[in-house]
Symmetry: C2
Amino acid sequence: MKKIKIDILNTSKRMFNSKGVALISIREISREMRISHSNLLYHFKDKYEIINSLHEQLIEKVYELNKEIEENSNELTRLIKGIEKGFEILLDYRFMMIDFNFIAQENKTFRKRIIEMEKERATMYMNLIKSLIQRKIIRKESYSNEYDALIIQIRIFSDYWISSSQIYDDSTNPKKYAKLLLQLFYPYMTKTGKQEFLKIV
Amino acid sequence: MKKIKIDILNTSKRMFNSKGVALISIREISREMRISHSNLLYHFKDKYEIINSLHEQLIEKVYELNKEIEENSNELTRLIKGIEKGFEILLDYRFMMIDFNFIAQENKTFRKRIIEMEKERATMYMNLIKSLIQRKIIRKESYSNEYDALIIQIRIFSDYWISSSQIYDDSTNPKKYAKLLLQLFYPYMTKTGKQEFLKIV
DNA sequence: ACTAATTTAGTCCAAATGTACTAATTAATT
DNA sequence: AATTAATTAGTACATTTGGACTAAATTAGT
């Protein structure tokens, strides 16, 4: 990709992160970059093309990370590191998480892709849970769909910890929230799992 | 309060809920109501005065509900009913939950009040947890601050289940999410607690 | 070096918004 | 009924925005 396109994406990301998508216009981005708005429009025909591009970047990074985790999540340590890394990526694109619904409302492509990603994430976690059960790190379901509920809780937590942190914390610490996500698993753990978990955290 | 003010608040709430705060202007609200925008401005000097009024309504309703729950949460059933009712109230003001961060960014009063409310909610849940431990419905902490983590998870879930549902579900069912919130407690429960819980749900 | 394609900038336009101000109307008070 | 206060409507203005269009400048290909 050309330098200017990369510049536009980076500047946009920075500005979206600081003020939110709704308050940043094409013209403001172009002013910030000291280029004409027509020039910017030449490269991206509107704000949502920029957002879609940034979203593709994010998806790419998350996808690679997921692959990495799936290959290496035999140990809890690696899983934790993976989640931490993932949360850092999300933080870098935080405007997307904060303006999630605003973007999704105006941008059907975005929404579709998010739903796709969510399916993948759910599958990944379901496999992880199965494997943790097999290895007797967590216990079996004690009623049906118990772990489906957990996966929804993981989804909401993963999607909105940044938003919540931005309101209630002075600064956003991805490691803290990665640990909190892990703690969702803790009460399901067997004695072995708990010991291992407490050793790490 | 005068009829027209009530009308403005209701119309605004309805429009904010359907399109989001960022996309609704004073002028649009006045057009929808078939009054002049100057008239609307006479009653509320800007959009954020409307939002603040609506927020006061919401706080009032939540406050009364909390009182009700604290007085009656001896039984799990009542707790569940309370959470369900609370979630229905939030759904009625859903724009506030969805545009949480957008509003908080531009409106310091809003943010302050939210943080206040959050403190109350945390205290309420902490008391609830203490009482559940005493009554041996849930177990004691197995490491320090274990239940503080749970409370943060409750906070994030309570604040963003609507946003998440709006993206992933076809329609938003508060009872479903109330149950999911309860399920956060389940793995901490003792045998007695689990039995009671499964009976109800 | 010349030409064509790509990239950048400049200008103009219509629509919408918040704000300020004035005029008209309605309600309340005496 | 007259006067005052409260409410509603209307108008005008400066800004901002996305979009369309044109012209200038730069780059790439030959």
